[in-house]
Amino acid sequence: GCGTSAKEKNSADTQSAADQAVTEENTESTDDTQIRLGGLKGPTSMGMAKLIQDASNGESDLNIDFTLAASADELTPAFVQGNLDIMAVPSNLASVLYNKTEGKAQVLAVNTLGVLYIVDTGDSVKSLSDLKGKTIYATGQGATPEYSLKYLLKENGLDPENDVTIEWKSEPTEIVSEMAASSDEVVAMLPQPFVTVAQSQVEGLNVAVNLNDEWNALDNGSSLVTGVVVVRSDFAKEHPQLVSEFMDAYQASTEFANNHVEEVSTMIEALDIVKAPIAQKAIPQCNITYMEGSSMKDALGGYLEVLYEQNPASIGGALPADDFYYER
C-alpha cells in the first residue's frame, strides 16, 4: 500500500502546502494530500474503521491509503522511510520510534487504553489483591504486559516475585488450552481480543479484573495506554491543517465505534482487522478512546514513566521530551 517514492511525494506536498496558505481562510480544506495510514491487526486499529470506511466511500474529504499489517515489522520500516504518514501502534513503540529517529515521530492521540484482563475459570478472584498466592498464566514477558502487571501488583501491595507465581507463556493459545483442559481453577492475564476468543472456547470463563480500571483507580493522572496514533513530524509540520482534520475525523470515528458497535464490527471485518462477531464482543472491552493534548500527555507520560522504571529499553532508552506530544 505504499507505492509512491518519498521524493516525488515531497515536492507535491510543498506545492499543496503553498496552495493551502493562500486559501487559509476557507473553511473547506483544499489540502487533498493523501494520508498514508497504517494500522495493526487488533484493538489498536478498531477505532479507525469508520474513518477509513468513510474515506474510501468518498464520504469524507480525507484521502486515505490504509495499510493493515499483521506485525509492527511491516509498519516500522515504511514509517521510518517516510512511506507511511500516520499509524496506530502500541504506545511504547511510539516512544521507541521517537527516541530512535531523534524526534521524527510525534504522538497525535491516545486511541486505546488497557486491553489486559485477568480472567478466571473459577470465581475466587474479584480484585488484584485476591491474586495473592495464585499462579497467573500470562503472555508478553519482557514487554509492556509484564511491566504493567508488575506495576499494578506492586501498587496493590503484592510483591510480583514472591506473592504470586507468574507462568509466562509464548502464545495465548497455550493459556486457553490450559484453561480448557484443567479441571482446577486457572487464573490468567490475557489481552483483548483473545479474551473474547477464549470465552468462545472455554465455558464459564469469567473476566475477573479489568486492569484498565485498576490503573485508573490509582488516580495518578496516568493511564494504561495500549495504543497511540503517531505521525511523522515532517508530515505534521507540512500539513498542520490536514493533521487537524484527521484528528477530528479520528475522534469522531472512535466515538462512532463505541456507540455503534454492531455497525463498526462489520467494517472491522471488511478491513480484515478481526472477524465481526469477535469485534462486536471485544469492542466494549477494548477501551477505545480518544485523548489529545495535555490529557494525552498526562496519561501517556505517566505510563511511559512506569515502563521506563522497569526497563528503559522498552521505551527506547529515554523518556521522550515534550515535543513528542503533538499539540494543535
Partner: protein, 258 residues
C-alpha cells in the same frame, strides 16, 4: 541400480497410502489420549474443516497465490544456487567471495532481517524471497560437493577427446550429479514451503495460505489450522513428486541428447 529406488509406480503409491493410513491411526489415538481439541484436533474434525474450506473461493485463491510465490522462490533459488555452485567449483575466488553470504544465508535467523526485507519487499514478495533464501544454500552446498566428487578420470577423458561443454554436461557430469540433484530437490522443495508459508504468516499477504493459517491460529480454529497445514504438506509432496518426476524423465532422455 539407480532406477530401482523409484520402484513400481503403482505399488509405491499403494504403500504410501497405507503409510498415511497408519499415520491417521496414530494421530487419532494421540488426539483421543490428549483429548484437547484446541491443541490437537482429531483427523475427523480436520477432514470436516477441510471439506468446508473446499467450498470457499478463498481456498482456491490462497492455494494458487501461495503456490505461485513459493514455486517462484524455489525456481529462483534453484537457478541462483546452481549457477553459484558451478562458478564456485571453477573459480576459487568466487567461492571465497560468496562464502560469507552463504554462511549468512544459511544461519541468519529470519527475525533478524525481516524488517530490512520489508523495506524493499511486499508481503507476497517476502514469501518468494524467504523461500528463495532457504533453497539457495541447500542447492549450492549439495551441488558444489557433488561437482567436487566428479570422477577426475572422466574429466580427463572429456578433455582428451575434446568434448564440448554442453555434451560433457549431458553425458558425463549430470549422470554423476544425479543423487546430489535429487537430494537437493527433495530437501529444498519441502523447506521452501515451510519457509514460504512462515513468511506469509508474518506478512499475511492477501490470497495466501499463510494468511489463512494465521487467522485459523489466532482464532484458535485448530481443525482449520491442521487442515491448512496438511494442505501445505500435501501440495509440497505433490510439487516434489512432480519435480522429481520431471527430473527422472529428463534423465531418461539424457542419452538421446548426446
Amino acid at each position: 541400480m539407480k532406477d530401482n529406488r523409484i520402484g513400481n509406480h503403482k505399488t509405491i503409491w499403494i504403500e504410501r497410502t497405507a503409510a498415511i493410513a497408519a499415520v491417521l491411526v496414530v494421530w487419532e489415538i494421540a488426539a483421543r489420549m490428549l483429548d484437547q481439541k484446541i491443541l490437537l484436533a482429531s483427523p475427523w474434525d480436520v477432514l470436516l474443516a477441510f471439506g468446508e474450506l473446499l467450498h470457499t473461493p478463498e481456498f482456491y485463491q490462497a492455494v494458487a497465490g501461495s503456490f505461485l510465490h513459493i514455486a517462484q522462490g524455489f525456481l529462483l533459488g534453484l537457478l541462483v544456487g546452481s549457477i553459484c555452485a558451478v562458478i564456485s567449483a571453477k573459480v576459487h575466488l568466487i567461492e571465497i567471495l560468496l562464502w560469507p553470504y552463504m554462511a549468512a544465508v544459511k544461519a541468519a535467523p529470519v527475525a533478524s532481517f525481516i524488517i530490512l526485507c520489508l523495506v524493499w519487499l511486499s508481503p507476497s514478495g517476502l514469501s518468494v524471497f524467504i523461500s528463495f533464501l532457504i533453497v539457495v544454500p541447500v542447492v549450492y552446498t549439495n551441488l558444489l560437493n557433488g561437482i567436487r566428487d566428479l570422477d577426475p578420470q572422466m574429466k580427463e577423458f572429456a578433455e582428451c577427446f575434446g568434448i564440448r561443454p554442453w555434451k560433457r554436461l549431458i553425458g558425463i557430469d549430470l549422470p554423476q550429479l544425479r543423487p546430489y540433484i535429487v537430494s537437493s530437490f527433495e530437501i529444498a522443495i519441502g523447506m521452501a514451503w515451510k519457509a514460504g508459508i512462515a513468511a506469509e504468516v508474518i506478512g499475511t499477504p492477501d490470497r495466501s495460505i499463510g494468511k489463512m493459517l494465521y487467522h485459523a491460529k489466532i482464532y484458535l480454529a485448530t481443525p482449520e489450522l491442521f487442515a491448512w497445514t496438511l494442505l501445505v504438506i500435501f501440495i509440497s509432496v505433490l510439487f516434489e513428486k512432480a519435480v522429481t518426476g520431471l527430473l527422472k524423465l529428463g534423465y531418461q532422455r539424457l542419452e538421446y541428447r548426446i
